[in-house]
Subunit: 242 residues, 2 copies
């Protein structure tokens, strides 16, 4: 039977490998979830697949698990990033959770001209990405980057990575086969803030050689909806749904 509890650990996983729990993990596993010596847990670390591990030692402030069998091979995700402008807390959390679920490799919060947020809690967003991976059974964990200015990111952009610009002003040809056919890997999807992009930003983005415009239909979508919609189209066209 598959273990019901699934934990991300930042340690190597291999046959017979011992894994030392952090204080928080021990509290969760033994205190909250009432597990004890001999009980099985699923572990993943984002690189060594998923392992079944049994509790070898359980204490209030720590514990040790021992890996007994690989239960799932490591997924290799399509090389996709998501760039988004942070919005209200709940919706920002949601975007990170959704991107992690949908198999994005890197999540890059960006500051645009119309972005309200001056800061994000990178550690909290990273924890959301880990929790999404734990709950959805993914073996990969999206990496949340520090907040950066869009301008700076574009200046140092790796030119072989296509940047898919979801321009809400452009509604024609959304999801048309001509457009979808032009999507490429490695890729990145860029979602704007509430209020969209400035005229200067739109002009600049459209002039960059690695940018591709992808309209998202005739209705204005909120940023979190737009993110899931764009990631769906990408995964379907060139990602691992294709």
């Amino acid at each position: 039977m598959r273990p019901k509890i699934r934990l991300y650990v930042d340690q190597p996983l291999d046959q017979g490998q011992s894994v030392v729990l952090t204080r928080e993990q021990a509290h969760y596993l033994f205190g909250v979830m009432r597990q004890g010596v001999g009980d099985a847990v699923a572990l993943f670390n984002g690189r060594d697949g998923e392992w079944r591990a049994e509790v070898a030692d359980a204490g209030k402030r720590g514990g040790v698990l021992s890996c007994s069998a690989e239960t799932k091979a490591q997924d290799v995700l399509p090389d996709l990033w998501l760039l988004f402008a942070p919005i209200k807390k709940a919706r920002t959390d949601f975007i990170v959770e959704k991107a992690a679920e949908m198999g994005v490799r890197r999540i890059l919060p960006v500051q645009t001209e119309f972005t309200n947020s001056e800061r994000i809690r990178q550690d909290r967003l990273q924890a959301h990405a880990i929790e999404a991976a734990e709950q959805c059974g993914n073996t990969c964990v999206a990496e949340v980057a520090a907040l950066a200015r869009l301008e700076a990111l574009l200046r140092d952009w790796p030119e072989d990575r296509q940047l898919v610009f979801c321009d809400e002003i452009e509604a024609e040809g959304a999801g048309s086969s001509a457009l979808m056919g032009g999507l490429a890997v490695p890729g990145a999807v860029l979602i704007g803030p509430e209020g969209g992009f400035s005229e200067a930003e739109r002009k600049k983005l459209r002039a960059l050689p690695f940018v591709k415009v992808l309209p998202l239909g005739p209705r204005v979508l909120r940023a979190d909806t737009a993110a899931v919609a764009a990631l769906t189209l990408w995964q379907q066209a060139v990602g691992d749904w294709a």
Copy 2:
């Protein structure tokens, strides 16, 4: 200049038409938003397009607006329903909001074998759908139906409406052109609860002539993510993104 405030009203809209506000709307418009006589508001009712209306009378418990010009023609949305199994409150709210944004006509909460919820607040969910339409500039409002048993809905299903069954166990061929080519209008998308569908439900659904199976990729998606992803694919293939 476009009015910044956009309100849904359940009254006819036409040139010179007077619109009487409810007590709540008057409180919002005059109390919270500090509007007064002569100020302009955008109105829509889901059938007569969007109208610019000026405040003719403002009181504490009511008010009257007068329609002066049509600012947007009425949208006619592709005939799409969303059936979903209610989950936790915040995620249920989210699904309704997202479906309204994405242009679904009817939202039908369904009770499946693994659905936890025994009840929903239909009026609250309808208010969410209206708020999404107000904020996203839609002229249509999704109609939220009462909670019904999936079994009963299937028994009385209109046979000309394709039911797209998003089966999370089926991962192969997600978004493939063969599958996407088979989508049809009028349509409906069915999203399961956490824990998915029972074996009996899956078997029954797959045997129905109007059901089409649509896989949503290799990862398990939460219900709210799955809803947006499936609606994106549908709108792209046969809806108004096509």
